[in-house]
Symmetry: none
Subunit: 216 residues, 4 copies
């Protein structure tokens, strides 16, 4: 019985490993080339498997990408949840969120999402109920909203700025990489420092000015 068990789980383990390899390769190529320039052939080639094999794991190119996105969003969600639950001020929470978004694996996620989000077919996948991508995205947004509104309550953020505008500004930070090539002409930049400053701009931008409010 146990042998059977271990036999089965070996198979299952290999299967999942292979699936991860496919997702990884797909992610790489999608980041390099975008959805339409990525062919199933190339993904298969990069993994070193036959094209048909991909279809044992994902029923279509769209579903493969949907799985990739789902996987990334879920990971993001977990991390965001951790931040939200932590004992920190709203500013610190945002700070930490931005830090993760810009530095760690996050920026890749942001680019992935935004690089994929163009395709019309893919938008359809987004909206389709079954993947729950939209729902997860909504949850992710809700967490951010919570932080921002908490910040307004405790007087950290400007109440005269709508939460929506803050959200926009916040998420816009994620799409930046897109312009790198143009803005920087190719030369690499110390992201760490760049992100620090962007965070500063954003946080100061939404922070409540403590001026001598008595005057006002």
């Amino acid at each position: 019985m146990q042998t059977m068990q271990s036999h089965c789980s070996l198979r299952e383990k290999q299967r999942q490993e292979r699936e991860q390899l496919i997702l990884k390769a797909a992610e790489e190529i999608l980041l390099e080339k975008g959805y339409y320039e990525t062919s199933m052939d190339e993904i298969a080639a990069r993994v070193g498997i036959a094209k048909g094999t991909i279809y044992h794991h994902f029923p279509s190119k769209e579903e493969l990408v949907a799985a990739l996105i789902t996987w990334n969003i879920e990971a993001a969600l977990r991390e965001v949840e951790a931040v939200v639950a932590a004992d920190l001020t709203p500013s610190e929470k945002l700070d930490r969120l931005i830090e993760h978004v810009f530095t760690g694996i996050y920026s890749k996620r942001a680019r992935l999402l935004s690089s994929i989000y163009n395709g019309v077919d893919i938008k359809r996948v987004f909206q389709e109920k079954e993947h729950g991508i939209k729902e997860k995205m909504d949850t992710l947004c809700r967490y951010t909203v919570e932080i921002l509104e908490e910040g307004k309550r405790v007087g950290e953020f400007e109440t005269s700025i709508s939460t929506q505008a803050m959200m926009y500004a916040f998420f816009s930070l994620f799409s930046i990489r897109r312009y790198d090539a143009i803005l920087l002409g190719g030369k690499e930049v110390p992201h760490r420092e760049l992100f620090r400053q962007l965070r500063h701009i954003f946080l100061q931008g939404i922070t409540r000015k403590q001026e001598p409010s008595d005057k006002e």
Copy 2:
């Protein structure tokens, strides 16, 4: 001779008109569907001409899009130059720039650029010397840099924030529309008000804090 001349320029005028029509149609569809979902057939159909005719004006789909981008950047460049040359404070200049970018025809341009910028082929076109897209983009950036550095000189903007970071934050505002569907769940927003607040966030984000006001 003159007849010939006028004949030719009539021809030439018609030709250019047609070219404009093609560019206009291409722009519309590209904004709706993105690069890959836009087919030459559809562009031709929308203009009301034969597919082959497009190839009399543009040697390839890539070149057509490159022309479209060039045209948009040039227009942007002209407007930016006007702003730069105007007698305004750096803050006011940025303000006006943002206003144009978010409200007027600019936002369309931003979306166009960002919607197209995904494709690898297109990136290649960007880099190719002959279109001068990169050069114009550089010029456009330089103008912005000028404003920002002028702002630092005159004490309006934070000197501790690198101009590069400011640039990033500035251009990030252009990519926002992308997330509309997800962030807003479809409901329309008064863009005018939204943009006003975003501008506020950005400008306050980079504005020099008057703290050591005793000195000043």
Copy 3:
């Protein structure tokens, strides 16, 4: 204007010729190999055109075959109508129908239909309203029913046999060729004579026996 006209009709004529060539090639191969063994590549190759060209005339393989069937049914319908309208006894009408069905181009039609009718996808096409295949088939059946019932009225055919059974027996004659290879072991048979005898069997099979009609 006339030049334009002739120009257009030339194009149109060529287009229709090409379409006929495609239909003809498709018909040949379908008869040889059946629906599934017939590839668009092969059809194109037989016509001597590129595969893509077929798709300028027919939006899909299914539609191509549907067009082929429609075309054949319509032709059959026209001929059947002529027979029905002729001044003949019901027996003679059936006779002529069978003669056409078995000898002329008809048998090819019968085989085509029956060779195609297997595919599940194709059945779907049959049922779809837009081609009107089912409707035409129904009309064709109705004509036959008319003849059979007229025959019963005038005392030529057995009233104790349901029209439906007669219809079955009638149409079954069309599917025969299918067994040729097996029944005949490959050797060719004088179809003319064979059909004459089959007609005899069928007609005698449904003919009213004149037996002691006085009693009845």
Copy 4:
């Protein structure tokens, strides 16, 4: 030794049982969907075994189907032999044959054959010596020929109709089901009654008319 023997025959028995299950499943699906719409995956799934296992029993899809056909023909042959050997008049024999063909399991066989007979690959299998399908089919035909010719000898059937034509008419009865959907527009029909009438048409069609009985 005997243990070994019995061990082996147990194995062998299980093997044959499994083979029967595969054939049964294949038959079902083939009848539902036809040769090309039937996948090895689906057959395996219906049996509840792995796809590879099928290949331990049959070297290919073609061979599986060939085995199925062989099995059906052999069964038919046995039943036909019984009828031929029975003490009945030729008419009665035909009658019984038709009855079996239309009602019992036979009609399924007829449909199976005709549904499969389309594919080119399968035709090839038919012709290949090794399965002996053609030979058995020939034998089956020969039995029918015997009955028909016996009927002619004893004056039951028309001598002026070639045996071959009778054969055609006889076998054509088997392919009818094909047109059901079209001929009946979906409504179910009491097959028993339908078959009775078809048998009547056929038998009366080939029966010798007793008219000039005075001469004889």
